[in-house]
Amino acid sequence: MSASQDELSFRNAIREAIDEELAADSDVIFFGEDVAEAGGVFAVTPGLRDKYGDERVFDTPISELALSSAAFGSAVAGLRPIVEIMFADFLFLAMDSLVNQSAKYWYLSNEQKSIPLVVRSAVGGGIGFGPIHSQVPISWFLGVPGLKIIAPSTANDAKRLLKAAIRDENPVLFFEHKALYATTEVREELTGQEILGKARIVREGSDITLVSCMKGVADCLEAARLLSEIGISAEVLDLRSLRPMDNEMIQSSFSKTKSLLVVEEGPITGGWAGEVISIANEVNNDGMKLWRIATEDRPIPFSPALENEFYPSATTIFESVRERHAR
């Protein structure tokens, strides 16, 4: 059997991506709780410490704020850290470091330095972990300029996206759905340059677009199969990147099918599904007028010359309404 035909599990895809990037660049380091000696509570990272040594792969205290901020500081000083926050529910303890330090540094420093940081974290339910070890906190971070959010649905894509995340110059939250770790695929040869921020159509259809990420993509594919049996042709769109979101692909698919359902594992209020609906709404809304004014996706600048133009104002509201209603 050739190497390209063997099976790749989601769990091994993650480990291989970290392994290959540690091998490719001595500035890459990896740390977190129980990741080195024990190899991770989800058995994703065994053997990496023995291969690369304690200086580059190490266990940390159970201190999510310290390890996130240490990753930030190490990136400022020239390294390319990967950290594991065991369960994404623990990310809330690291908020200041992720939101105020890492995400804003590129902008705030006037582009002196970006933060090439990857935070890996396990999300999602369905395996009996209860309310504080099963959340998918994508929407908590969706409104944070300067952060990228990646959420893969398959093994090959997880490897492709994690390698791209490690090579990206910006802070990336990389979410791994626990129910996917044991899933496998026929190994694909990874070629070409992956740029974070692109969705993909995993099934073409003409009657409706189903949008999801992570485990939801497999659910949508199965639903699409069932729908085809009753004569409904469903297109399935795997977002892959929640921030930035692939507006163009969402809009082009919706333009084609004129029907769109978003499937999110998370509370309906304030969820990322609402963001997808808003993006889709910005095309083809057939005479209905429904739109948004907000600040641009950047941290708030200090200089009065910049800040004064940053916020919505009576003038921008007036101009926006006048323009739309003049049509």
Binding site: E21, A70, F72, V76, A164, E169, P301
Partner: protein, 324 residues
């Protein structure tokens, strides 16, 4: 460098910081600087003493009360004053303002607007600096020792034996509240409980600070792990621009003003380092004159145009991750 000249330069640096802060205050009162400011007046000896022991490869993390640390580390007064005014020529192009200055060219990895943030940043920087014989230093106030950052990072740095110096500037008040009202036990005892090498020093005598700094940098640079310093000092102004400091105990400010780091330095320059009072006066006048020039130039500096809004992300520089 000539030791005598270096000693005079310590004094000049402290005068520079004091004069800078007085200039900021006056510009704030005139409405030329907006938002808020947190001034360092009274604490100059701490940043100046530690900065005098920095090597070129070392890195500094400070707080929102960070003008003094920035100047001591080498940020130019012009670029810093321009930043206060939100000008294009500011050290961060007008994006950061008073509280969040970053200047990597001058070893300043940041001034952190959230209390305790400098502790995490320096701890992380030390992971990288351990590879190149560097040391990171974190400045923070007495208020920060009740933050999670403090416990988590001192422990993290200690178990990893990271080359980082934690400098707690105990100025007696966390914002408006006396430190002892909201803090159990003694400050240094917390670092001692983690078996981190610790010392309490006179933070108003720049030579006492310098001595502790040299020993701390040696210890950390030689792979012994982190150091904790509690520097006793006092801020002569309110917490921020809106604080008149009504919480001070009667006579406290006056007593500390007798221990003004500039007065102590002036006396030691004359008594121990053979400078004449006239030479010290001339040095002080020279710094003040240069600051007046900085002020005038800043007020004429251009504002950032809207084209300078920039992007939330850095563009991809390296090869993407698709391939092997």
């Amino acid at each position: 460098m000539d030791t005598l000249k270096a000693n005079l330069e310590l004094f000049e640096k402290m005068v520079l910081i004091r004069t800078f802060e007085e200039t900021v205050q006056s510009l704030f009162q005139k409405g030329a600087i907006v938002g808020t400011t947190h001034l360092y007046s009274g604490q100059e000896a701490v940043a100046t003493g530690f900065a005098s022991a920095l090597q070129p490869q070392d890195l500094v993390a400070a707080t929102y009360r960070g003008h003094g640390h920035a100047l001591a580390t080498g940020v130019t007064p012009q670029s810093l004053m321009d930043e206060m005014l939100g000008r294009l020529t500011g050290v961060c192009g007008g994006r950061s303002g008073s509280m969040n200055v970053i200047d990597l060219e001058h070893r300043l990895i940041g001034c952190f607007g959230i209390i305790g943030g400098s502790i995490g940043a320096a701890t992380g920087a030390a992971i990288a600096l351990a590879r190149r014989n560097g040391v990171a230093i974190a400045y923070f106030g007495d208020g920060a020792i009740n933050q999670a950052y403090f416990y988590e990072c001192l422990n993290f740095a200690a178990v990893r034996k990271l080359p980082v110096i934690f400098v707690c500037e105990n100025n007696l008040y966390g914002e408006y509240t006396p430190w002892e009202d909201v803090t159990a036990g003694q400050i240094r005892a917390r670092a001692e409980a983690l078996e981190v090498k610790s010392e309490t020093i006179d933070g108003n005598d720049v030579w006492a600070v310098q001595k502790a700094a040299l020993a701390s940098f040696d210890y950390a640079r030689n792979g012994n792990g982190p150091v904790f310093i509690e520097a006793l000092t006092y801020r002569f102004v309110g917490h921020s621009r809106s604080d008149p400091g009504k919480y001070r105990k009667p006579g406290e400010l006056d007593a500390w003003k007798l221990r003004d780091p500039l007065i102590i330095a002036r006396k030691r320059l004359v008594d121990e380092f053979s400078f004449s009072p006239q030479e010290v006066d001339a040095a002080e006048a020279g710094v003040k004159k240069r600051m007046e020039e900085v002020r005038e130039q800043s007020l004429k500096a251009p504002s950032p145009g809207l084209k300078k809004l920039g992007s939330e992300f850095m563009e991809l520089k390296r090869t993407g991750g698709g391939g092997a």
